[in-house]
Amino acid sequence: MKTIIISGIVLFLIIIVFNNIYLINPKNNEETTETDILFRWIGNEEYELYLDNNKDFTSPTITETDNNLVLIRNLSIDEYYWFVKSENKKSLVRKFTIISLVSINRSFENNSLRIRNTGNVDLNVSSIIGFTILPLEKTIVLGSENIIIRQK
């Protein structure tokens, strides 16, 4: 009887294993500041990767691939849900979050401060004389006043 139960469990596990797609990256509930995300899973078939910012997948981006990895670039700051399916299998749904990164590259030239937005969001650069919006990957030149940089 014990053997039957064990072999039944083994059979059940084998069925589960062979009917699922195991997702590797990004990890479930991962938080990242990267906006280019590499999706990886285990398998060797043709797949569709479903990605959406709502868990009902009402407006998914669907990427077809005959590989087990897909790079999706320039995602915006948000929560995302994703899963992968092939002709006969479907993975579980996973979630990851792209969080904002406020980041600048700066240099001093002729008593002026050059600031380039190297983060993943538009910035609000403020000083005592006012504020400027600094879009992604753009540069501004300021006087030598003290400044605060925050997400727009």
Binding site: L11, V102, V121, N146
Partner: protein
């Protein structure tokens, strides 16, 4: 091997290549809950590999509810990143519904301020923001409208993300009104949805764009509990609304200036301004013999109008020339191939159309039984066999 190579290239692409001063997250957003306690971990990034001291402080209307784990950080040139935390301890009640903001600021200090000498140049502070949404009494929805455009005859998709900012759950229904020049042409309703407080959901409405190309306006209205929320957006059906109908040259003599009349039609539903055309012609040997630009004209919706292009045919020989006509407006363009025959007293130009379209037929694939299913079937049979064997032995 191929996968490893791809992964390697991707990892190289994803490596940070900039020097920077930064902070992450740039913003943390919370929904208000009575006495909520939340610890937020903040990364301060020093990819400039710079020695600097910083002070950390809190500002904004929620500052009394925020405690920082440290009030200063020092970096040396080998330290790329440090972390600190702040704890948000919200009160039982915040009086005003809506958005409440604060920020934790990491500010470079001059060496003077930290007692270590002189610092030259501007000092930079980076802020990590805290947004707390206090729910509105009762039911309250905030909506947006995003449109996935399409060509005539195809499906336009309207996405209506909805966020519930009220204290209570509600049921809601969305509808889309589509306008052609302020005249409503379509109204489509969605099914009803339950939207829980603080939740984000989305309505999706499809519309087959059986209309002429052009610019349309969509208004999304979400009805809930006797209230409405709305959002609107302009969208395009099709992407280029200028069509060339004919190219002709009248009263021509070789060696003189030829006037090309280009008849175009605005197939859209709105005025096109400053449209123009270019004609490029090459000899059969590939040498460019003409690069001509027309005057700019405005064309009303569904109007047909002529553009004029002038070509000095001195030193041009009779014969066949090939090239293209490019129509442009509003930083958009469309081009068609043309063929021009130059004779002593005439120029004939034809627009080369689409030459063919092959439609494939799908052959049904043979029935496939995957090896895994055979394997599972064998295991099932083995289990049944074991079961029968043990039952008989008893």
């Amino acid at each position: 091997m191929k996968n490893k190579l791809i992964i390697g290239i991707v990892i190289l692409l994803l490596l940070p290549i900039v020097n920077a001063l930064g902070i992450a997250p740039g913003r943390t957003t919370l929904n208000f809950e009575s006495n909520l306690e939340k610890i937020v971990t903040v990364r301060v990034i020093n990819n400039e590999n710079k020695n600097f001291n910083s002070i950390i402080y809190v500002s904004g209307e929620l500052k009394d509810y925020i405690t920082i784990s440290t009030d200063s950080l020092s970096f040396n040139e080998n330290e790329n990143e440090k972390t600190f935390t702040y704890t948000v301890s919200l009160p039982e009640k915040l009086s005003e519904p809506g958005l409440h903001k604060s920020e934790v600021i990491v500010r470079e200090v001059s060496i003077d301020e930290s007692g270590e000498g002189l610092n030259i140049g501007a000092l930079v502070a980076v802020a990590t923001q805290l947004y707390v949404h206090v729910p509105f009494p009762g039911k309250f929805l905030k909506i947006q409208l995003q449109v996935k455009e399409a060509k005539p005859g195809e499906i336009v998709k309207f996405f209506i993300p909805v966020t519930s900012l009220g204290e209570e759950d509600t049921t809601a229904k969305a509808r889309i009104h589509i306008y052609d020049n302020n005249k409503q042409i379509v109204r489509i309703e969605s099914i009803e949805k339950i939207i829980k407080t603080k939740e984000r959901t989305e309505f999706v409405i499809d519309w087959k764009a059986d209309v002429r190309p052009g610019t349309y306006r969509a208004v999304a209205v979400v009805e809930y509990d006797g209230k409405t929320a709305s959002a609107e957006s302009q969208f395009l059906v099709g992407d280029f609304f200028l069509k060339v109908l004919d190219i002709s040259v009248k009263d021509f003599t070789l060696g003189e200036i030829a006037k090309f009349s280009i008849l175009v039609e605005n197939i859209g539903n709105t005025l096109i301004i400053e449209a123009f055309s270019e004609i490029i012609l090459n000899s059969l040997e590939g040498k460019r013999v003409a690069d001509l630009k027309s005057n700019s004209i405005d064309i009303e919706a569904v109007e047909k109008k002529e553009m004029e292009v002038f070509w000095d045919t001195e030193n041009i020989e009779t014969g066949e020339y090939t090239g293209k006509i490019i129509l442009s407006y509003d930083n958009k363009f469309s081009e068609r191939q043309i063929r021009t025959i130059v004779e002593d007293n005439a120029i004939r130009t034809e627009i080369i159309g689409i030459t063919g379209l092959v439609i494939g037929t799908e052959t049904p694939s043979p029935l496939k039984i995957k090896p895994i299913y055979i394997f599972i079937a064998v295991l099932v049979l083995m289990n049944v066999a074991w079961f029968i064997y043990f039952k008989r032995r008893k």
